[in-house]
Symmetry: C2
Subunit: 268 residues, 2 copies
């Protein structure tokens, strides 16, 4: 069975934060209302990825404290599920993570802030980055679509459609470290695909789910690091579009594992 | 005859650069191709504004050296006229100076520069200011209409129509010194109008032309100090729109003086 080798390929060099892995698990398997994951399934899944049960327990506690997940007990078993707030954040992220195609906004807007003191500037920079804006220059941002109603107060804004992206801006959208991370992930995808090819039928439901989660987790860590833009906004040598295709091809090959299958594999 | 008093009102507190006054004269009376102003008419006009003939001679020399005007001699008299380059600049400025209504652009564009070294930034700031752009923040500008073909290379640009102007931006468009200058000019207009009312029929053609030139000159020095924008872009207490109306009302009352009338007054 090639699962341990694949797992090594997927986790090598990656700093896996258990709470973040669990966020990926809920985003992948339990983002619909009413879906719960039994504790034993979570422990089995994370153990298959090389995470110790104690680390999973601590991470679940932290996520519950942060209001991301909640739990209910049924007999000896805890069942975990996303809170309304956790689901909202999860849905916002998964819309990007699982998108097979890049966004194709019909319009754009530029927002510009007035003079700010350094703490104010820092806070606004954080808000705009979190909202997915591209920084054009200090205090000026580009966002897809029309100016949103909840744009921070006091910003200048122009709504438009025709965009001219100079090379320097394309380059700032693809800093070397980000392009390198995409290429490293692409290599991981290739290694994983090769190792799976040796014995594609020999995976247990648990291993298949664990591999899928690790693939999604690695992809999630890439795409959420930069604004969501059409491929045409990036430099010509941007690997993102190609890697997206390979990620989805491998995910399709693996298929989805249902929670029912996992519960059979790790009975509560 | 109230002319000297009016002239005092129009020149009080203003630092009149003779070459700049002469630019105003050509823009007002001789911007059409083929129109020439005889030297004696220029001297008589500027003398009526309190400028010594020697200063006029020096200024004409400077403007000829700068390629703004040229001259031809006919007997003892020099005839001055705008060069093609001088006419082009003059027409660009007079379009704004004599506009009875503010511009009403149907669209706008924002331009943003990439990182620049300080001399590069300074040069670009100058280019954009000269082209009539509003500075939104360091390295980001707003211009009326669609992105022009001759936008400096390497700028990001977004073309759009819907504009949201926050209060801080309106305020930067109307700095206190500029609003104060508009109000001071408005007071000059009022004084001039009052003094003219005492004896409106008593003005010579030369005095009428000199007063008109001084009015235009003062107005020109105001409007060319800031970008040409719809009145709605300025703060609510912006005096510009009201002063524009008063400037045109007084100009209409004075009427235009033809060069022929002036040549009769100051025969070559």
């Amino acid at each position: 069975m090639p699962a341990p080798a694949v797992m090594r390929a997927l986790t090598a060099g990656a700093e896996l934060r258990t709470w973040s892995l669990i966020v990926t698990i809920f985003g992948d398997m339990a983002r619909q209302p009413g879906v719960e994951i039994p504790g034993p399934v979570l422990t089995a899944l994370t153990r298959a990825m090389g995470v110790k049960p104690e680390a999973t327990r601590v991470a679940l506690h932290r996520l519950r404290k942060d209001g991301w997940i909640a739990s209910r007990r049924a007999g000896r078993v805890s069942h975990y599920f996303l809170t309304a707030a956790g689901r909202k954040k999860s849905l916002a992220a998964t819309a990007r993570i699982y998108a097979r195609h890049p966004p194709a906004p019909q319009s754009w807007h530029v927002a510009v802030s007035g003079p700010l003191d350094p703490p104010g500037r820092l806070a606004l920079d954080g808000t705009m980055a979190a909202a997915g804006y591209v920084t054009l220059t200090a205090g000026a941002w580009l966002g897809p679509g029309p100016t949103p109603d909840d744009l921070p107060e006091g910003l200048f804004a122009l709504d438009g459609a025709a965009l001219h992206l100079p090379d320097w801006l394309r380059s700032t959208l693809a800093p070397p470290a980000l392009s390198a991370a995409y290429r490293a992930y692409e290599a991981t995808l290739a290694t994983t695909a090769e190792r799976l090819a040796i014995d594609p039928g020999g995976l247990s439901a648990l291993d298949r789910a664990a591999i899928r989660i690790l693939l999604v987790h690695g992809w999630r860590r890439l795409v959420l690091r930069h604004p969501d833009l059409p491929d045409g906004c990036f430099p010509a040598d941007w690997p993102g579009a190609r890697v997206r295709g390979r990620f989805h091809a491998l995910l399709d090959r693996l298929g989805e594992t249902t929670l029912a299958e996992l519960m059979d594999a790790a009975p509560a």
